[in-house]
């Protein structure tokens, strides 16, 4: 479940991970599992089985989670290719209302644009990536609450 509880548990771990200068850290506890890996760029990737968050020290991802109402599992849009994520203009922001199908971004792979599409309506709960960031397969891009 991706909610405040998770965000609240992940954030101190992420900080500890960053401050300790570790390369990799996995924490498992009951139904909770989170894994941090350091990329050479210095950013930190965290993933949980149900949802994942990408964060660097000045990344809005974790802070954004706290804005999400508790108890609702947002839908997480992930990348199904490896490439560079590019936001559509105007770029969506946390708390933004989405009405109707919409391409939020595309992931560019070898010059091909793979759209990241949200169908239906909802509210943006989190933006996990920054425009122009490299993303891998399965990497969470946006969380949306219906």
């Amino acid at each position: 479940m991706f909610d405040e509880t998770i965000a609240g548990r992940v954030r101190p771990l992420a900080e500890a991970f960053r401050d300790a200068g570790l390369v990799r850290l996995t924490v498992r506890e009951d139904d909770f599992e989170v894994e941090f890996r350091r990329r050479s760029t210095g950013s930190v990737l965290a993933s949980t089985p149900a949802a994942s968050a990408v964060s660097s020290p000045n990344d809005p991802a974790l802070a954004a989670d706290e804005g999400a109402p508790a108890g609702v599992a947002p839908e997480v849009l992930t990348s199904d290719v490896v490439g560079i994520v590019r936001f559509m203009r105007p770029a969506v922001a946390d708390g933004q209302r989405l009405d109707g199908d919409r391409d939020l971004a595309f992931v560019e792979t070898l010059g091909i644009r793979n759209p990241v599409r949200f169908r239906g309506s909802g509210t943006v709960a989190a933006v996990f990536v920054t425009d122009g960031q490299p993303v891998e397969y399965g990497q969470p891009l946006f969380a949306i609450e219906r």
Binding site: V23, R24, E35, R37, R39, S40, T41, V81, V82, G83, I84, T109, L110, I112, P134, E136, Y137, G138, Q139
Partner: protein, 464 residues
Amino acid sequence: MFKKVLIANRGEIALRINRACHELGVQTVAIFSEADRQSQHVRFADEAYCVGPGPVVRSYLNIPNILSAALISGADAIHPGYGFLAENARFAEIARDHGLVFIGPTPSVIASMGDKATARRLMAEAGVPTTPGSDIVASAEDARLTADRLGYPVLLKATAGGGGKGMRAVYEPAELETAFATAQAEAEASFKDGRMYVEKLIIQPRHIEVQVLGDEHGNVVHLGERDCSIQKPSHQKLIEEAPAPVLPESVRIRLHETAIAACRAVNYTNAGTLEFLVSGEQVYFMEMNTRIQVEHPVTEMVYGVDLVKEQVRIAAGEPLGVTQGELSPIGHAIEVRVNAEDPDHNFAPAAGTLGRVEFPGGPGVRVDTHVYGGASIPPYYDSMIAKIVAHGATREAAIVRMERALSETRIEGVKTTVDFCRDVLRDPAFRAAGVGVEWLKTDFLPAYEATRAAARATHAAAPV
């Protein structure tokens, strides 16, 4: 030299390449599937990208995602390892088109060696002996004339064949007509291509292959031969050694000279292996593998050359680090493939989570593996989980050392080939050396299975 190399593989070979790169001061980028997230090859790399879910078509064969990972990570070269995309000429070409160096031979050499008919023709033109055979035979009568010319026994083969389909061994002229009809019908049914050719059947051949290295400056060397005759019934290699034991010196020299001539004929660059069938004094070219091979460590152990580092250096445009005169084998090396397979059930692959894992060590022992206690063996990939290599002053010393190494090996949680290989090492025929590629299937396995059955019967009958 490259700054950063993307390793387009998994498992032990990804780790092997990672080590070579790090020793060369080159940074590494791993790729992995969702099933391999916890794998050692991911942890040991400088950075890593998930390229897809477990099934290989969507991950380790996913060319766009792999190339994209190479480009966004800023890699300047790709090492394909073995299997997966290692002999995919199109991949090598696309990589090159994106400004990446493919660590291997040129796409056109990969393509010509990958096509059996082209490879045979090129080799024959270069004076390399290939199995005597024919072009397409139009009819059973045509096949009979060819068989008469070649001498029995012969092998009828479908040009489109694979996996033994459309293939028949014919020992007597009287068998030919029926064999031709059934093989052709089978080829027609399996491949929608009933074109047949005839090849001389080589009886009890040994599989002996020659390791070569060629650079972009016209230098080519061989690093001797490996005997890979101990093969499972599926013809997958199980135990390999270098040098080949009990091989007439004249044959050894001919193999080496033939390999060099073949490489020169196609301007071969990077590491490669020429596979031969050897029967008595006769040597026949089978195929050329345009990649690093699983069993390369036995060559490294006796020659003291790091083949993977040489691959990277060659691809970076550097001249070979060694000359032929500097290369001579020291002692003997044997490799045992530890597969997560059940030798008692036709080598059925096993997946699951490993329990306790202990690998051997000590003098003259090398272990190339990506597994550890608690590691999971996903069902999607090759069943090989480790290679244990033993080096000794003599073949006997290497075998004794390998027996010792295998006795130290503990792998719990899945069935493995460890104990089976120990039994093979103790077999008098293996000890005497020089067995052919069918020996394990036709001689060793029946005796092994009888012993196992007897042991089970005794065990079952024993009072509790």
